[in-house]
């Protein structure tokens, strides 16, 4: 009995890594926003849900493959994020961090229930022409969508990292993250940089949504699942750390998948909240604590 489970372990780990890459991408958006703006975006999950629906409708109505839709949903998400920060959250953000948390909670309630209102509560999935084709790893058949999502997520993570370290924009963002007043003094338009960062964070979700759709499902409540996952990854990796988010994503992906294998589908989910709680209590700076 146990050995059967054990023999499934490598498959479980691989599977976890596949999802982990996408989680990492979603968490990257959250950690970037936190690292630069010092605000916690509770609507992060709901925004991912929105991205999933966008990819879903692009596929259903226009028959656009979700992996192609990345090119549409990502920039659209960026614009959405930029706008909602610049003329929404940012305007209201004078106060305490709890207020931002509550405002973004309000936003997530609005998004979630708008989805419920317009799209109903039904779970939606899509089937791609190559959904059932797979790649033989010897001990496991890895479906093409999972593989593509994995690789594409990694590529986007690398691109983001390059954006942050190699470009002028990245430098400006990091300057603002470190010393917002100093950055203001040397003439950086801080509010613009904040909005750009928020936009990039949401764009990560756009991409993550497109990659998640073929291997997952979407309903109005999908965001709830991911918001805790994303927060867990972010506290695990250290608030604001890009590398931490990547590693955290893999750890959480594998924990979830292996936990499900060993403890059963239902109890398996316990790992994530437990990790979240333990990290916050014992090591609130995260395990890989470097900042943006």
């Amino acid at each position: 009995m146990f050995s059967v489970t054990l023999s499934l372990l490598p498959a479980g780990i691989i599977n976890g890594l596949m999802f982990g890459a996408i989680y990492a991408l979603a968490a990257l958006g959250l950690t970037l926003i936190y690292g630069v703006l010092h605000i916690i975006n509770f609507a992060h999950g709901a925004m991912l849900m929105l991205a999933l629906y966008s990819a879903y409708f692009l596929f259903k109505i226009l028959n656009i493959d979700p992996y192609v839709a990345i090119l549409i949903v990502t920039p659209a998400s960026y614009i959405f994020g930029y706008t909602i920060y610049r003329w929404g959250i940012g305007k209201l953000s004078g106060g305490r961090d709890q207020n931002i948390l509550l405002i973004t909670l309000g936003l997530s309630i609005i998004l979630e229930n708008s989805a419920l209102f317009f799209f109903t509560g039904d779970q939606q999935t899509i089937t791609l022409p190559y959904s059932y084709e797979s790649f033989d790893l010897g001990f496991l058949y890895l479906s093409y969508p999972k593989l593509i999502s994995f690789i594409a997520s990694l590529i986007i993570c690398v691109l983001l990292w390059m954006l942050m370290t190699l470009t002028d924009l990245g430098k400006a963002i990091r300057a603002v993250a470190k010393e917002r007043d100093g950055a203001r003094l040397v003439g950086i338009d801080v509010e613009h940089v904040f909005a750009v960062t928020f936009g990039i964070g949401v764009a990560c979700l756009g991409a993550a949504g497109c990659m998640l759709l073929p291997i997952f499902y979407v309903d109005p409540y999908t965001g709830n699942i991911f918001v805790i996952i994303a927060f867990t990854i972010v506290v695990l990796g250290g608030m604001g750390s890009i590398v931490g988010a990547l590693l955290g994503g893999f750890i959480i992906g594998v924990t979830e998948s292996v936990g499900g294998l060993l403890l059963g589908e239902s109890l398996g989910q316990i790992g994530i909240s437990l990790i979240f709680i333990l990290i916050l209590i014992f090591k609130p700076t995260g395990i890989f604590g470097s900042k943006v």
């Binding site: 709890q98 309630i109 419920l116 916050l280």
Partner: protein, 322 residues
Amino acid sequence: MKLRLQISFLIALSLLAALLAPFGISSKFQLDVLTLIFFTAYLGQSWNILGGYAGQFSFGGVMFFGTGAYTSSILLNTFGLPPIFGIFAAIFMGALLGLLVGYLSFRSGLRGSYFALITLAFAELLRVLANSVEFTGGGVGLFLTYAPGFYNLQFNSPTGFYYFSLILLVISLVIAMWLERSRFGAQLVAIRENEDAAEALGVDTLKCKIYAIMIMGGMGGAAGTFYAQKYLYIDPPISYSIALSVEMLLVTIVGGMGTVFGPLIGSFVLHAVNEIARHFISTPGLSLIVYGFILIVIISYLPNGLVGLFRKTRKSTEDKDA
């Protein structure tokens, strides 16, 4: 002084009206709505003690409710303990959970968003646990038998539950009024306003926060028993629902955090919004969309909630009196 008299008079009058309401209201539906308003106000008040007075926002307030619901229901189903006693066990377990969560999180210095999120995680953890272990009935949930009677805290008419909820509400208001005039309440407010300063002035901030979350927990526990005996069914998604956590904070923030009547006013307003929205469009989600907007507007423009609106005018008249 005159004003205080007027307010006391108003409160007495409202209480009388509430006591007599079942004789005037013939519609069972309306009485049920009132029951729900009181119940939500009660839960809101439990959130208010920690969130409004002590300034520690929780996103997982439902965990006490759920734990209380399971406590009295399991005691009833497995050991035959009547809920009239079970409710005290529920209060105890809620407070105990409060102690645990409070000790762990406040001890490690969590505040602000981090505290909010860790409570959310605790609620999720409990939901998953309740879903997975046997004695909670797992995902199937727990069914309670319909056996109206005072010992079972079950009633064969909405009037019984109405009074039950009214009692809970009055208790919660009394607790809040006590906070307003006691040292403990003042210390909670001091913690909310400036934790370092409070600590410097001799306030045992850790202990106060833990007491506050324990009171919240005990109150939530009783609410769980109320719910279970009224609806005769609980399961993990109901018992640990994020939506209820949100509702608790929503009614309080809308009505006015750190005020005695904020949660009640918020509960009235939001239920009214709900009824109106339902009247026009029955598709689910609409009233919650409106709630979301209300939350954002209140946080951004009315940090003291609806009560804050009155209060400003009251303060200025009081100043004139003095």
